[in-house]
Amino acid sequence: MKHVISIHVANTFGAFDRVATMFSAKGFNIHSISIGETEIREVSRMTIVTSGDDQLIDQIVKQLHRLIDTIKVVDLTDHEHVERELALIAVNYQKGQLEEIKNISDIFRGFIVDINNKTVTLEITGPPAKINAAVNVLAPFGIKEMARSGTVALKRGEQLAAQKKEVA
């Protein structure tokens, strides 16, 4: 089963590498990984999407805790949460296809962010499943290039307030 794990790591030299090294050293899967700033200057948040049975996920969470630079590890799969991913998709187009591509982009609430005489680049945001759907619909046109950010996620509502207090 897929799990979304959110990790607060100290903003130290090599902290990201430690997490990635641990995953490869232990043979754990990473479907996606993203890292960025948080509301606290010394802390970054990593969001890792991984999969496995309960014993494996339990072991992954414990191994993450064990790293000295990790401050907090939450398996968001156990909580109500919001997941988002951003994709930039450069699609080939022929004469007369642009309207159709723009329609598809609108249906997925995307934006056209770049265009030249051969390709049009769309920005699509949403849960990973929505992006997969958009990719499937766009594939027949020919996807020239694609970049996906990987999942970022946060707990929903009241739990978020409690979490913030703990971290601060």
């Binding site: 100290a10 090294t21 414990k62 064990r66 000295i68 630079d69």
Partner: protein, 572 residues
């Protein structure tokens, strides 16, 4: 009141920090990147620097010191090859949870990444084999980093920590003060076990008909052997130990079943098979212990005490996990057990297994056997020596036949299985322990892997008895070739390619004696043990093709134990 801050160079700060940490010995080797430290070392009198002959030797020496004292072993090496030579020792310490602080020199910060002379990314290289590591990038962070390194290495589940020191950090200066404490938000080891979990475990143990304590190195590391002995004796519980756990409970005691696992005793493994409650303490259900996981203690209710949460449910899913320090959890558990059942029926079965299949070897053909040598060493030292084994057949024979009375007395590379461990580790132990015999027991293969450190033992006049159990084979590999690889003895026969060990030892400057006669064994041991100052080498030329039994083949159930050679007529 804090002492007034002083302006010091990085090299001076380095020694001030080591003074604060009460470091007695540094095991090291100088080089370009650490010259500033060695310049300062010239005037330092509160610690001693031990010059190894290869940096791997330094790390094993530090392990030997750390395993016998429980304190952090300290290593100092230069950048590049100096640093990469420590990798095996660091990996060894990581697998066996040995507290080390390894200082590596590094090229100046401005040159990092430029493929500078003697540059290696040791922080990157050691990331998966250290508990934590640091690159010091500002001399103002040096003191706090060293404090953190010692704190992390020695607390919780101990392990090695690397501190990489770029050359310019040692030359530049800043105001120095040593922090009183460190704050690491992501590192808070839990020492006391969960009260309700302990209560649950106690009630299960109180009701157990066939309980078994399965004890690992964690009990020794946490200084919990007295507490363990008290618990086992109070309720007459049988105790079996892992390789690293040997010494936690006295080997001669009736309640000791000896070692379990691949080369464990028949009765210990039978007890594991038939127990109804298994209590693992400071042990990690390693594959050499469990064999086939699904057949390991199949009927037992499993309780697991460990300070490292990742050790729990990693290999074997347990019924009651207790995360905590053995030294806190064992007494709490003891107190919570009001009364246990009568163990006499359980002990009767164990004694039956003990009689049915004792440890044995051929004694009547006049040939010299490894087991006999170990037995005589055990007898001569009354189980009170520090025994540092290497890796291979002799290591298992030491585990089976040496009867350890004390904790921190059996030093062995368990997790990584590092050949070449014994010679340098015994040197580290000899600096730590001055009032007990130090035996370094080696095979003829492993002895050659760090043979250069013999000169270190000679130079510091360390009273180590180096023992070689010479069967002219890489014996354990040979054993597997015979049993599982169609008797293809590929590159394990050293009959024509071993050096003359006696001559070699003499060249290093120590007396050396050899024999292949059982009758002379005691006389040689006496010669070794009675030498007051400096090391000595004893070489025992044993039969070539003996095998370690009993044996549970890798991945097999422990009930599928091989207890003796199937076709004994093949023996030479």
């Amino acid at each position: 009141m804090k002492a007034a801050q002083r302006m010091l160079t990085g090299a001076e700060i380095f020694f001030e920090c080591l003074r604060e940490e009460k470091v007695e010995y540094i095991f090291g080797y100088p080089g370009g990147a650490t010259l500033k430290i060695y310049e300062k070392l010239h005037d330092v009198d509160f610690l001693e620097h031990i010059l190894c002959r290869h940096e791997q030797g330094a790390t094993h020496m530090a392990e030997g010191y750390a395993k016998t004292t429980g304190k952090a072993g300290v290593v100092l090496v230069t950048s590049g090859p100096g640093a990469t030579n420590t990798v095996t020792g660091i990996a060894d310490a990581y697998m066996d949870s040995v507290p080390l602080v390894v200082f590596t020199g590094q090229v100046p910060t401005a040159l990092i990444g430029n493929d500078a002379f003697q540059e290696a990314d040791i922080v990157g290289i050691t990331r998966p084999i250290t508990k934590h590591n640091f690159l010091v990038r500002d001399v103002r962070e040096l003191a706090e980093t060293i404090k953190k390194a010692f704190y992390i290495a020695t607390t919780g589940r101990p392990g090695p920590v690397v501190v990489d020191l770029p050359k310019d950090m040692l030359n530049s200066s800043c105001l120095y003060s040593y922090p009183d404490q460190v704050n690491i938000p992501g590192y808070k080891p839990r020492y006391s076990g969960h009260v309700n979990q302990i209560k649950k475990a106690a009630s299960v143990l109180a009701d157990a008909k066939r309980p078994l304590l399965y004890v690992g190195g964690g009990v020794i590391m946490s200084h919990a052997t007295e507490e363990l002995r008290a618990l086992a004796r109070a309720f007459n519980f049988p105790v079996t130990m892992t390789l690293q756990g040997l010494g936690a409970f006295p080997g001669i005691d009736r309640q000791s079943l000896g070692m379990l696992g691949m080369h464990g005793t028949y009765w210990a493994n039978q007890a594991v098979n038939h127990c109804d409650v298994l209590v693992a303490i400071g042990a990690r259900f390693d594959d050499r212990v469990t064999g086939k996981i699904s057949a390991f203690a199949p009927d037992a209710y499993k309780i697991h005490v460990d300070i490292d949460p990742t050790a729990i449910d990693k290999n074997v899913v347990v019924d009651i996990p207790i995360v905590g320090d053995a030294r806190k959890v064992i007494p709490a558990l003891h107190k919570a057990i009001k009364k246990a059942r009568d163990m006499s029926a359980w002990w009767a079965r164990i004694e039956e297994w003990r009689r049915a299949c004792p440890l044995s070897y051929e004694k009547n053909d006049g040939k010299l056997r490894s087991e006999y040598v170990i037995e005589r060493l055990s007898e001569a030292t009354k189980g009170n020596a520090i025994v540092v084994s290497d890796v291979g057949q002799h290591q298992m024979w030491v585990a089976q036949y040496y009867k350890f009375n004390h904790p921190r007395s059996h030093l062995s590379s368990g997790g990584l299985g590092t050949m070449g461990f014994s010679v340098p580790a015994s040197i580290g132990a000899a600096f730590a322990v001055k009032d007990r015999p130090i035996l370094s027991i080696n095979g003829d293969g492993g002895f050659q892997m760090n043979i250069q450190e013999l000169i270190t033992a000679v130079a510091y006049k360390l009273p180590i008895v180096f023992v070689i159990i010479n069967n002219s084979f890489l014996g354990m590999v040979r054993q597997w070739q015979e049993l599982f690889y169609d008797e293809k003895y590929s590159f394990t026969d050293l009959s024509d390619s071993n050096p003359d060990f006696v001559q070699a030892a003499r060249a290093f400057g120590m007396p050396a004696y050899a024999t292949d006669d059982p009758v002379r064994v005691d006389a040689l041991i006496e010669k070794g043990l009675s030498r007051g100052e400096g090391p000595v080498l004893l070489e025992f030329k044993v039969v070539k093709e003996d095998m370690v039994f009993p044996m549970v083949p890798a991945g097999a159930a422990i009930s599928d134990m091989i207890v003796k050679r199937l076709n004994p007529e093949r023996m030479m």
